[in-house]
Symmetry: C2
Subunit: 104 residues, 2 copies
């Protein structure tokens, strides 16, 4: 339903008021950003983003109240999970090759 990519997109839509601007900030095509928004809107009972196309300002997008709640809950999940599993995550990370060496 939601992972780090979609959550970041949602936060950036809230900050920019634009799906395409939010996607662009993440190096995403306009089409992909829209697709992800549509996936989220389908997944949740209430839409997380509403948008208007065209118009004086060239259209815009808004994160709904439900979208704000989803974002808040998602961040709480990530934060609590990271705290609770900090020891095991650190052990796992210590087993990883240092970043950048993976392709060696």
């Amino acid at each position: 339903m939601l992972g780090p990519g979609k959550a970041e997109l949602l936060a950036r839509i809230r900050d920019t008021g634009s799906i395409s601007a939010a996607g662009r900030q993440m190096g995403m095509s306009y089409k992909r950003a829209w697709m992800l928004v549509e996936e989220m809107n389908r997944a949740f009972r209430a839409p997380v983003v509403t948008s208007t196309r065209g118009g004086a300002g060239g259209g815009g997008a808004e994160v709904t109240e439900a979208g704000e709640a989803v974002l808040r809950l998602y961040r709480a999940v990530v934060e609590r999970a990271a705290e609770a599993a900090a020891v095991e995550l650190a052990e796992l990370e210590a087993m990883l090759r240092p970043a950048g060496a993976a392709g060696a």
Copy 2:
């Protein structure tokens, strides 16, 4: 580095002694299963799976001690995270459309 798919593949390799059998159980092509194993072996300092191709038994695969540790830690992370974020996860789930209704 590791998500539910790779962790499950690792567990099934341990259970079956075969990368292709493990992948098949998950509806994965032989090529994809090998690719995922190679990604894991590159990501970690020590290989998580060792394999022999051909031979009397048609080759086989074994999860290494490092692989066992990775699997154990991954499961602990998931378990602790789910416990710690149970309330927020339940709230998020309640906001989702019932399964199967997403395509409606």
